[in-house]
Symmetry: C2
Subunit: 359 residues, 2 copies
């Protein structure tokens, strides 16, 4: 039982039957939001000076097995490694192409990079997070990207690396009128709800009831969210199966999709997939959140388990550290679905990658 279906489960099962054997690609949308520089918000970088390198280092590690913009791949200061080791191990076995998408970075990776946008997001605290973004041009680029990806690929796995992204996820969900407090995940045990709620409440003051969806986005989103939402819609419209590979951050993307999309037929082509560390986290509630928002997108969970790992730092995942990122959950669910390998076979490859990267 390496995969479970947790919300709209029969649609999730159908989705995973359909994606089997399809021509696939992994696209990882990376972005920086100054929201992550608020002290305590993110554990994705080893310290606040290094956070801006996190997304770049993650995607470099996928290409080269190591970071290039930094001496090492960032790790949680408490020890557990970046979830990118899971993504790398899954991609090694799946052998599908991968490209990062620049949605707005402070530091660019030394990799091929599909440029969609070149300025990063401001902090949501002032209600002007993406105020300077030229969405008309951005969406035209995203549409062109979707059109050309759809000519060669039937299945697209969309990951993300956005430090501070669970805070902007909470903000977006709340701004659309759903209760997300204490339901959002995060990269540390307990998920630091009080701090996130506090920060998000400041941002919500700038939201009014009659804001249009993209006014909300401009005020409090991170750059990944609107780009990922439009990319998903444009791909799904063209018949491409799209897996939003992430946890509560992808619930926020799905919420935005719900509020900007009027074509119900796209939903049969969409699913969210994350790790069991998110789905069954006792300090957050992704299933409740999806029910609340009444999303039409199923949730699929990779049951990848680190309990038996020989590395203490990997076993920390079982204690609520890190949980998800860089498409780790979705990629591992796809791997289980596609190749039928066992947890211990997969863990062996992850441990090999971990050892290579972190020495």
């Amino acid at each position: 039982m390496n995969i479970t279906f947790n919300y709209l489960s029969s649609r999730g099962k159908d989705f995973f039957l359909k994606v089997k054997g399809k021509s696939s690609i992994f696209l990882c949308t990376i972005a920086h939001t100054e929201t992550c520089e608020i002290p305590g918000i993110s554990a994705a970088g080893a310290n606040t000076d290094l956070i801006k390198f996190t997304a770049a280092a993650d995607v470099e590690a996928i290409y080269y097995g190591k970071a290039k913009c930094l001496a090492a791949v960032p790790e949680n200061p408490l020890g557990p490694p970046s979830p990118v080791i899971i993504s790398i191990a899954a991609l090694n076995i799946l052998n599908i192409p991968y490209f990062p998408i620049n949605a707005g970075l402070k530091v660019k990776p030394v990799t091929p990079l599909i440029e969609i946008n070149d300025n990063f997001g401001k902090s949501l605290e002032k209600g002007k997070a993406l105020i300077e973004f030229d969405f008309e041009n951005i969406f035209e680029k995203v549409k062109a990207l979707a059109e050309h990806i759809s000519k060669s690929f039937e299945f697209v796995i969309l990951g993300e690396s956005v430090p501070g992204g669970t805070t902007t996820a909470l903000a977006l969900i709340e701004a659309f009128g759903y209760n997300g407090f204490n339901k959002i995940c995060g990269s540390m045990p307990g998920n630091n709800h009080d701090l996130k709620i506090n920060v998000v409440k400041k941002a919500l003051k700038y939201i009014s009831n009659n804001d249009e969806p993209f006014e909300i986005v401009k005020k409090i989103a991170d750059p990944m969210q609107p780009i990922q939402a439009i990319l998903s819609i444009e791909l799904a419209k063209r018949g491409v199966l799209v897996l939003l590979a992430g946890g509560t951050q992808m619930v926020a993307v799905a919420t935005l999709i719900k509020h900007i999309n009027s074509d119900n037929s796209i939903y049969e082509n969409l699913a969210i997939s994350t790790t069991k560390w998110v789905t069954f986290d006792k300090d957050s509630d992704i299933i409740g959140l999806m029910e609340n928002i009444d999303l039409k997108i199923p949730l699929i969970t990779s049951m990848l388990n680190f309990e038996t790992s020989k590395y203490e730092n990997l076993r920390l995942y079982e204690k609520g550290y890190v949980k998800e990122g860089v498409g780790a959950g979705g990629l591992s669910a796809v791997l289980f679905n596609e190749k039928g390998i066992s947890n211990s076979e997969f863990l062996e490859e992850i441990e090999r990658v971990y050892k290579n990267i972190y020495g």
Copy 2:
């Protein structure tokens, strides 16, 4: 007879047999070199102020059927439209995905863009054209790009849009010790040899006999040439068939490949393809040039003919204006090879595109 095989013809025929039905992608490497700002060097932009927009406008037109960074797609001041209309028409029928690669631009297109390098080239006149380029990082990116493209595509068509690129082509060929004077093509009748020779002679003063290939590149190349050469080698090594879609500019790329590659097995995966306006141009000599350099790469020619066009500005192609660019020759040869359509069917689609873009 819509395709002819002109140099190493049996290898060219084999190559075109092998590419039939393969999973294909068109990648267009675009770059700016200040060499094109030397008065008289380029006719690619309507005037020298607009030249820096040319490459961006070309790739925008492929995505959107019109330029976005400019009010119109640049045209030769004498009337004939950009060869991008041929590329667009061919891609419309081939229905393969396309992405531009940024090798170093002054103006970026409003399109998805695979970022490999972000600074443009200086003029070759001072012998410091690419002196600031970080080739170690650039080549690492190109290798990663090739690796991931090769996971999904068996055939890659590589185009270019580099205003002033025939002058840097001449410089590179001469710097490697081959006689290119009066053999290089260009975007106007007669090809403006005297001016190009004059400019290139200034650059050649900086070349010494014991320069390593990449010292030569740093002194007098444009940014497209080294990136295209390494990309071709890295793709071909991985068994991908690579068509260098262009005229004498691609001969320069092939010359660089010859001088940096030690693996003879890559040559069975490489070919150059251009238009008949280049191959049979009376004022240049691509076949003689390839023989001289003793290239191991065949030349394939699209016999696309505009004689019967209802538009005067298209018929100007038959008088030596424009000739090639944005992969036009290679894409049309591939179209003839793949779909077996007639010249008049193809011309009809080109005229439709021309009318849409230029009104």
